[in-house]
């Protein structure tokens, strides 16, 4: 092979290598969680969907590379999956049933212990309708700031029996059941987050799972 041809091969190989590395890099960045589309509640008069969630104290190694992180889990086709991105139709009622298995950490801003933006103005906690909980009892919140929706989620008592260890948790473990309904508006991509500093080990309790989509943060894609 002539000298030029040899050099050509080397340069071409370098370009291909660079392109492959860039491709890997970009692909790594675009790993997006697959959204889950909750299905319509059957025999419901208005447009509505149903979402079943649980919040756990430690997500476990089967569901995450960070086993000690807190997390939300979604019920998808009968299985608990670590998904926090949901596709929901526009102008639809979203009925949420949430099983709360974690202990309380308390809100940094007690103002966020009052529910806002819910249909009917209240949520039910273990069957009782109410609009707020004591701020120190909050374990997590579910909030969609763009809709001005927020629901405080009460924590399991410290001395409760049969507390859940690693997720997924079953209903035989100590838990609080919270239900609430909100309505989606126009199409768009809206973020939701927890407001309780519940990320153990991180300063202000807001690092780690509190800043990673797939744990305590996610998106509602109104489609």
């Amino acid at each position: 092979m002539s000298s030029n041809a040899r050099k050509g091969v080397v340069v071409a190989a370098a370009v291909v290598l660079a392109a492959v590395l860039i491709g890997v890099y970009v692909a790594f960045l675009t790993i997006t969680p697959t959204p889950y589309s909750p299905t319509a509640a059957s025999a419901a008069p208005a447009k509505s969907v149903h979402l079943t969630l649980q919040t756990v104290a430690a997500v476990g190694s089967k569901l995450s590379p960070n086993p000690n992180w807190v997390s939300y889990l979604t019920m998808e086709n009968g299985k608990w999956v670590r998904t926090t991105v949901w596709n929901v139709p526009a102008n639809t009622l979203v009925h949420v049933t949430l099983y709360q298995f974690d202990g309380n950490s308390g809100l940094r801003n007690p103002f966020l212990s009052q529910a806002r933006g819910l249909v009917g103005g209240t949520f039910t906690l273990n069957g009782k309708a109410m609009s707020r909980i004591p701020p120190d009892d909050a374990s997590h919140t579910f909030a969609i700031p763009a809709f001005d929706v927020i629901v405080p989620l009460k924590g399991v008592a410290d001395d409760a029996k049969n507390q859940c260890g690693y997720a997924p948790c079953s209903l035989s473990n100590a838990h609080n059941t919270i239900t609430f309904t909100f309505r989606t508006g126009k199409k768009g991509k809206y973020r939701w987050q927890c407001f309780v500093p519940c990320a153990a080990g991180f300063v202000y309790g807001f690092g780690g799972p509190m800043q990673t989509i797939g744990y305590m943060d996610g998106f509602i894609n109104v489609v």
Partner: protein, 618 residues
């Protein structure tokens, strides 16, 4: 085959990886009450820091940096591998020839700047729409941080590394730098730093952008530790590089090279080096405090346990503002070095220009609080810092007037290096004027933290430094390699880059004023059209870089048109030597005459014809 064993890059990489794992395991053995919480987070920051540290030590040992000290301690003669005078292998290890280090820097920094630029393209891709559409929200902030951090860390040594290392000794008549092994060390430290920063991705990225503000940095995933390690190594590299430059210029000037006869490029490098040596230690100490906050739960920057978020901001910007003049001054040195050659005139106002550079060096220490105007600092301070910041435009103006004066009544040749230098004047004008807006506190209330501020520093750093970086490449690479870079494609690169650059950052000045904050993945809907224009211009700008890379590789690898000793007809000393410069630099140490820019006298350099040989056309 024999070369593969021994102290070289391959050994260094292997020892680096081994060292990382050794450090990682060591770090995990450290226990204590104040670091119990690592169990909850799942991120052992101490293990990562120790891993990086031992990894870098392993890397340096593998290259052979420990050979000389260890051998001398044992009373044995040291290996002379590092003093090799020939062969391609020199470029892939520790070599104390300043010319080799210069070329290593050029390629090494080039690779990392390419990565930084790629991240910029990814940022602009995301900003095509007002809402998130491309990258995971976590990743957008990491991309922004990677772009800024990589560029700042690499361009700090962007001129001094490749060009001052290669040319400064020659320009003052020396055969080497004052500390050749340290010179090589600064390069390899920077390379290790770049690799460490890229590993941030594997550790969850970092959410703070290049400024690393506390207390957010305390909260971040352990990708933040990669940022800290990167900047600590960059700071160390900076300080040593600057120290080397200063020692060389002070002690190793040849006979006749008095202070008043130093070429402008040397003055630019010297003043930059002074800033580097004084600013880098502030950065390193600050990062040490951040790492203690992140590991041992100290409270330097946590107000609730006795610290202050202002402490970080002030410490960072005491480093950060001289840092941006570290970025600006070399560009000014190159500008005033190249303009005389292509205008065939001496520098207009040599002493004024030098005073300008020294003035910038001094004043850059007195302005840093203009980054903190609306942060809640004591309001009494603001008029003072407004004054000091506006005063720094005075010495900057000296550089302008000297550049403009050099062009007057010249015989101007619009070669590619000249085009890039002229673009500096245009770009830095806009950059400087937008800086005046930012220095005015009432105006800064709206523009602080917006894309106006971002466009300002891109105009000065990219429009200023990067354009002169390319001028230096097109101008001096023929001297460093012996081959010309194709002029026609160089002009294509220039015009595409110049137009695309202004098309990208000009509108951003407006967009910032219209209310778009920095580092924000969403923005108001009415700015979508403008952002799309900017993004497309940015893609064209990126494309112009690809053209440059293709031209560079083609010209130096395939075309190989010999440059000859003096293709530009320059009267500067380095162009009186063969291209590429031979290993020993000078056959005999020269004696310098009274005028660094003997243009316009009709008097040639003694012994050489007044007419330069015809420049080879590639």
């Amino acid at each position: 085959m024999r070369r593969l064993f021994g102290f070289n890059l391959l050994t260094a990489v292997v020892l680096g990886i081994v060292g990382f794992y050794v450090g990682w395991l060591l770090g995990h053995q450290i226990h204590g009450k104040s670091i119990d919480y690592f169990g909850d987070t799942g991120q052992n920051d101490i293990a990562l820091f120790v891993g990086y540290f031992v990894g870098v030590v392993g890397f340096l040992v593998g290259l052979g940096f420990a050979n000389y000290p260890v051998m001398r301690m044992l009373g044995r003669p040291a290996s002379v591998r590092e003093k090799e005078t020939g062969g391609v292998g020199r470029y892939f290890g520790l070599c104390t020839d300043h010319k080799v280090v210069g070329l290593q820097y050029l390629v090494g920094i080039g690779v990392f700047i390419f990565i930084g630029g790629l991240n910029a393209m990814l940022i602009r891709f995301e900003l095509l729409t007002p809402n998130e559409h491309a990258w995971n929200a976590n990743n957008y902030l990491t991309i922004v941080g990677l772009h800024g951090t990589m560029m700042m860390g690499m361009m700090t040594s962007g001129i001094l590394g490749p060009f001052a290392n290669y040319l400064l000794p020659i320009m003052i008549g020396a055969r080497r730098m004052a500390f050749p092994r340290i010179e090589a060390l600064t390069f390899w430290l920077l390379m290790a730093a770049g690799v460490i920063l890229m590993t941030a991705l594997g550790f969850g990225g970092f959410p703070t952008g290049w400024t690393g503000y506390e207390p957010l940095a305390n909260q971040a995933n352990w990708g933040m530790d990669a940022y800290i390690a990167f900047f600590a190594l960059v700071g160390l590299s900076m300080a040593l590089l600057g120290l080397n430059m200063i020692a060389t210029v002070i002690t190793m000037r040849a006979p006749g090279m008095r202070w008043g006869r130093l070429p402008m490029f040397v003055w630019g490098s010297f003043t930059t080096a002074m800033l580097m040596v004084l600013a880098a230690p502030v950065l390193i100490s600050t990062l040490l405090m951040v790492s203690l906050d992140r590991t041992a739960q100290t409270g330097f920057f946590n107000p609730q346990i006795g610290g202050s978020s202002y402490l970080y901001q002030n410490l960072f910007w005491i480093f950060g503002h001289p840092e941006v003049y570290v970025l600006a001054l070399p560009g000014m040195g190159i500008l005033l070095e190249i303009l005389p050659v292509f205008a065939r005139k001496p520098v207009w106002g040599y002493r004024l220009a030098v005073s300008g550079m020294l003035g910038i060096t001094l004043l850059s220490w007195l302005v840093w609080q203009h980054h903190l105007f609306v942060s809640g600092i004591n309001a009494d301070l603001r008029p003072f810092y407004m004054l000091s910041t506006e005063l720094i435009s005075l010495p900057t103006g000296f550089i302008f007037v000297c550049a403009l004066g050099t062009l007057w009544a010249g015989r101007i040749r619009l070669t590619v290096p000249m085009l890039f230098c002229l673009a500096w004047i245009f770009n830095f004008l806009i950059g400087g004027l937008s800086g005046v807006f930012l220095s005015d506190v009432p105006s800064d209330v709206t523009t602080h933290g917006s894309f106006f501020s971002m466009a300002h520093f891109h105009y000065t750093i990219m429009g200023g430094l990067i354009f002169t970086f390319f001028a230096a490449i097109y101008y001096w690479v023929p001297k460093m390699t012996g081959y010309m870079i194709n002029e026609t494609w160089g002009k294509v690169h220039f015009w595409l880059m110049f137009v695309a650059f202004n098309s990208t950052f000009g509108p951003l000045l407006v967009i910032g004023f219209l209310g778009m904050p920095r580092r924000s993945v969403t923005y108001a809907g009415y700015l979508e059209g403008a952002n799309q224009w900017v993004s497309i211009s940015a893609f064209v700008l990126g494309f112009s870089m690809l053209i440059f890379i293709a031209n560079f590789v083609y010209s130096l690898v395939f075309a190989r048109v010999p440059a000859g000793p003096n293709p530009w007809g320059s009267k500067s000393i380095e162009w009186q030597l063969p291209s590429p410069v031979p290993v020993q630099d000078f056959d005999r140490i020269p004696t310098f005459g009274p005028d660094p820019y003997p243009y316009g006298d009709g008097v040639a350099v003694p012994g050489r014809p007044a007419v330069a040989p015809a420049r080879p056309t590639p």
